[in-house]
Point group: C2
Chain length 258, copies 2
């Protein structure tokens, strides 16, 4: 019995800066029906407060605790280990790391996210030197690239993780979808068992495959980056919907709790 | 019968900006004995003219044609194919590419060398976009890092090649030691058969292993980065010398041409 949903953001709740039609209302109906909701995104360039602002601007009710994202996951991981870190992140994402010592000569970890235009040789080299001095490597995702608003491709954080791994020989711990440790932290954050949760997203592997491998159900939506070929691969979603907007009615039809 | 020598530079002819004791004299004696000499280096941040200046400043006679290095090799490769290129290289290294169109919207190749502090997100992203638009990838070496004069480690070009390969999925052609195509271009440049040439260097794999796999002999010197453990690996040098300075006497003792 599913008691909660992990909802992807980009391509599932919103797309190109606008809400998917009917998605804000669907989130509200799911909540009213008693389902636990967590927005689980791979965004590594913003902190949760920035995502809350974005969601509220689109008419989606959200607080800090409704969002589970790689920078927050990494900060929890580090705080639990009482570990220090060198943060290769945007200023916004760095705000998640209060309580984590980040200004030390020999950090325990190097944390890598999307820095876009802020990447520099000095930043990457500092990360490399820390790894050679014994630090661990935390990757907030292994995305290869993304498409900017003007339609151009832009390097994501994955290539920079690959550069650091090639140079240092250190294997990264990945705290982002579709990595299992990230989904595990997500369901622990919700406080439900994986079998009680379903992930809803537009990425057949990142959302659906990753969730299924971690013991959750995976629901694919035909919005965002979805393409019909996604249904021809090895990953089989537990459910295929035209949009997140359809989820409440489908659950109602299935005699669920609503 | 060996009729020519390919001599590595850094760690073999000079080290930390100074000539290895006796090396300049050894080069001269080899030349006087009738051996063909080529300085074969993996340096990707300087053009041949800069290397000539450095060698002459140390008392080693050298002209442009005595040097074989990755930027020059890549320029020859591109000119033969009449191909255009985006050059991710220092200004000095870019000077090798006269005659190669480098200011085109859709370059045929992306050429990657060591740019050090000059690396930027914009440069790497431009290379990535060219690769996604169909360009080939030429790596002027896959070095992981090097040790600067102040003893600190610094990222070499390999990690940036790894980043571009991870992002684009394009496999690089490597034009630097120990890659076979580079050694092949080197012996063709000398105008001798591989069996008539020996590579002399301090890198057990980059110099000795690479040369041997390309059909040349490989001579290891106990200078530069040499460590005794190098003799315990799979690569077995054809000869081990304390220094390049010893080569002329060894050849004389062996009843060679001198």
């Amino acid at each position: 019995m599913v008691r909660g949903f992990l909802l992807d953001l980009d391509g599932t709740v919103y797309d190109a800066g606008r809400p998917i039609a009917g998605a804000p209302q669907a989130v509200e109906r799911l909540r009213q029906a008693g389902f636990a909701i967590r927005f689980v995104t791979n965004t590594t360039s913003r902190d949760r407060a920035a995502l809350v602002g974005k969601l509220q601007g689109m008419g989606v009710e959200a607080g800090l605790n409704d969002i589970f994202a790689p920078p927050y996951a990494a900060a929890c991981f580090l705080r639990e280990k009482q570990a220090s870190a060198l943060l290769l992140l945007t200023e916004s994402a760095q705000r998640e790391f209060s309580g984590v010592p980040t200004d030390v000569a020999r950090p325990n970890y190097v944390v890598v996210g999307d820095m876009g235009e802020q990447w520099s040789f000095a930043a990457l080299n500092a990360g490399f030197r820390a790894l050679m001095a014994g630090a661990g490597l935390i990757a907030l995702g292994l995305g290869r690239y993304w498409r900017t608003a003007d339609g151009e491709l832009s390097l994501d954080s994955g290539p920079f993780v690959a550069a650091l791994q090639f140079a240092s020989g250190v294997e990264p711990v990945v705290l982002g979808k579709p990595a299992r440790p990230f989904f595990q932290m997500a369901w622990q954050d919700v406080g439900l068992e994986p079998s009680q949760l379903a992930m809803v997203g537009d990425d057949i592997d990142g959302d659906v495959g990753g969730a299924q491998r971690a013991g959750l159900r995976g629901i694919l939506v035909r919005t965002g980056k979805f393409r019909e070929q996604d249904m021809e691969g090895e990953v089989r979603p537990d459910m295929l919907l035209d949009s997140l907007a359809d989820l409440p009615d489908v659950l109602k039809g299935a005699g669920s709790r609503e």
